[in-house]
């Protein structure tokens, strides 16, 4: 089968480009090695829509950050994804840091970031009463916001598929062969023919590039660990709180999430391999220590879980968005670390423009529907809406996840959608069942039951995430063989 465009990687960048391209009459495929979309860098990051003062003036990062930020309201509205423009503060503890803030202010202005201002102690106290009294000033960026990164990528994928894009999961790209007028791509068991390739391979983007081109960049995977806290402390801060950046990076942030939890992170250290998303006790201790400087009275025992993400850094510290010099029609969209999430919508239009200039004018897809069918969040409905909904579909009257009050109806819906959930983690990312305090202890078995029923598979085939991340081994009463383990000696007290 011949596609016009194959997008390698179904993270925030790949899905944003796919959706943008689906506005044109093209045959498009997204291929990913994982069992779900948004399963790499996109699923574990700070979830911030940055204002845009961080990046060096004139860099791709600076350019796409400010443009991307401005697109968020409309995009999230169309796709029914949470987005809150809550503003950000970069806080300073001394004069030296105040000088850095001044530099950031100037850089931000040059990048075109609107309404930046420096705040004094009193003003900071007013808007963020829980911050350290040692803070002497802050840079306030009202356009910064928060979103749900994997929700957005999932929504982009779903909307792209609704508009004709195809999705192929569990298919790592292992071979790319240049033919006369097209590429032949081996992805998992499949062979795909396509005219253009867009490499959105995240931390693997260099490997993908090297399948067909000389090495021109090297991804340096960088791990960041996070802690997430109970909703009871979700409003401990009202905006995104950064510490003054040093040459080592942006430091540890404290921010609310769009779902009302509190997030603290990330650490930053070199990952030993691109899949290294484990947390460490050193990292988690480091977070506490660093965050305490900004929120000295915070109760860290309200933690509900920790996670780690991996970021695709490069030595040049800017995005790589360009057609390969050796391979026509092969576009690298690589090294997308922070502010990649923010920049994604702008990167997508940029890539479409590049394709237009390569392919010539593209025909508009008249049937393109920008809107995704809204996802129902039962608990956010009014009394009347709740009552009506249950009348229409009683499964919305059955709460499955007790911590987040997620109904059976919501879970069935996200299983049945395009790019729908097929695993326990996929349900968690889309419907938040198992995201709460009990972390799926109560609802896990019920969610598995629903997935098995809706996908018509056996419950032992329901996995946590990857196809080999099995949860149940076999039915009980099938294979008892350890009869020799009984201790026949009398039990004595020495225990």
């Amino acid at each position: 089968m011949m596609f016009d465009v194959t997008i390698i990687g179904a993270g925030i960048i790949g899905t944003a480009i796919a959706r943008e391209l689906s506005k044109y009459q093209l045959k498009i495929l997204i291929v990913d090695k994982e069992n779900d979309v948004a399963n790499g860098t996109t699923k574990a990051n700070s979830a911030i829509v940055h204002a845009g003062y961080d990046a060096k003036v004139g860099s791709l990062k600076a350019q796409t950050n400010v443009l991307g930020n401005a697109k968020y309201e409309k995009l999230c509205k169309e796709l029914n994804v949470p987005f809150k423009r809550i503003g950000s503060l970069v806080v300073a503890f001394n004069q030296e840091e105040m000088e850095t803030l001044e530099e950031l202010l100037q850089q931000g202005k040059a990048n075109g970031v609107p309404n930046l201002q420096l705040l004094n102690q009193q003003k900071i106290r007013e808007i963020e009463p829980n911050l350290s009294k040692e803070i002497v000033g802050a840079l306030y960026a009202p356009t910064a916001g928060i979103t749900g990164p994997f929700e957005l990528a999932i929504a982009l994928a779903e909307n792209a598929i609704e508009n004709g894009v195809e999705l192929l999961l569990n298919s790592p790209v292992t071979k790319i062969i240049k033919k006369n007028n097209h590429y032949e791509v081996t992805a998992g068991e499949d062979t795909i023919n396509c005219k253009y390739i867009i490499n959105c391979g995240g931390v693997h983007a260099d490997e993908i590039n090297n399948l067909v081109n000389e090495e021109s960049f090297k991804i340096l995977p960088n791990r960041g660990e996070y802690n997430i806290f109970d909703k009871s402390v979700g409003n401990y801060v009202n905006s995104v709180i950064f510490q003054t950046p040093t040459k080592h990076g942006k430091g540890v942030l404290v921010l609310p999430t769009v779902h009302g939890n509190l997030l603290i992170g990330p650490t930053a250290d070199e990952a030993h391999h691109p899949q290294a998303v484990e947390t460490t006790s050193e990292g988690l201790n480091f977070l506490r220590e660093k965050a305490s400087k900004v929120v000295p009275n915070f109760s860290f025992y309200t933690v509900i879980t920790s996670f780690a993400g991996i970021r695709a850094k490069v030595a040049t510290n800017d995005f790589i968005i360009e057609e390969s010099k050796e391979s026509k029609g092969f576009i690298n969209v690589a090294a997308i670390d922070s502010p990649g999430l923010t920049a994604a919508p702008a990167i997508a239009t940029m890539v479409v423009d590049m394709l237009q200039s390569i392919m010539g004018d593209l025909k508009i897809n008249e049937n393109f529907n920008p809107n995704r069918r809204p996802v129902i969040h039962f608990m956010e409905l009014s009394k009347e809406e709740k009552a009506d909904l249950i009348k229409k579909d009683p499964s919305y009257g059955r709460i499955i996840c007790r911590c987040e009050n997620i109904t059976e109806g919501e879970i069935v819906d996200i299983v049945k959608r395009k790019a729908g959930a097929t695993t326990l983690d996929a349900v968690k990312r889309r419907a938040r069942a198992g995201m709460g305090r009990c972390q799926g202890g109560f609802c896990g078995p019920r969610v598995m039951e629903i997935i098995a029923r809706e996908l018509q598979i056996n419950i032992t085939q329901v996995v946590k995430d990857s196809p080999t991340s099995y949860i149940l081994t076999e039915p009980t009463k099938t294979n008892i063989t350890n009869a020799d383990t009984v201790n026949l000696v009398a039990a004595t007290e020495e225990v």
Binding site: P475, T476, K477, T478, I480, N482, A483, T485, V486, N487, L488, A490, A491, T492, E493, V495
Partner: protein
């Protein structure tokens, strides 16, 4: 004279007991139990030294019920050495709902004069 200390498991109280073993060639071995708060402790202590037994609680497969397993137990404690034989037997059993609590599923388990009984009703 031999002395053993052990924890009574007859109930959750967990009395710490001392048992003196008095054996002689002429008479039957005698056991002196102390530290127990009730008579069950004494009989447990002696039994634990002579012929240790345990209650087995497990499940069997059930058809036509809202769950796939029905909880069961031995009506009395059985010798420790028989526990896995008992488990092996339970593996083969499948019952059908409706079933009442206390129903006998296996009569005279392994010839021990102990039954396997259900521990809940399932409609």
């Amino acid at each position: 004279m031999e002395k053993k200390t052990l924890v009574c498991i007859a109930c959750p109280l967990g009395c710490k007991m001392e048992i003196q073993v008095l054996s002689s060639l002429e008479e039957e071995t005698k056991y002196l139990v102390s530290g127990n708060k009730c008579p069950r402790g004494e009989s447990y202590g002696i039994k634990e030294l002579t012929k240790p037994t345990r209650m087995v609680t497990s499940t069997v497969k059930i058809k036509n019920a809202h769950l796939k397993r029905l909880p069961v137990r031995t009506s009395e404690a059985i010798p420790k050495g028989k526990i896995f034989e008992c488990m092996k037997l339970l593996e083969e059993i499948e019952v059908e709902a409706p079933i009442k609590v206390g129903e006998v599923i296996i009569k005279n388990l392994l010839g021990l004069d102990v039954d396997i009984i259900t521990t809940r009703s399932m409609l």
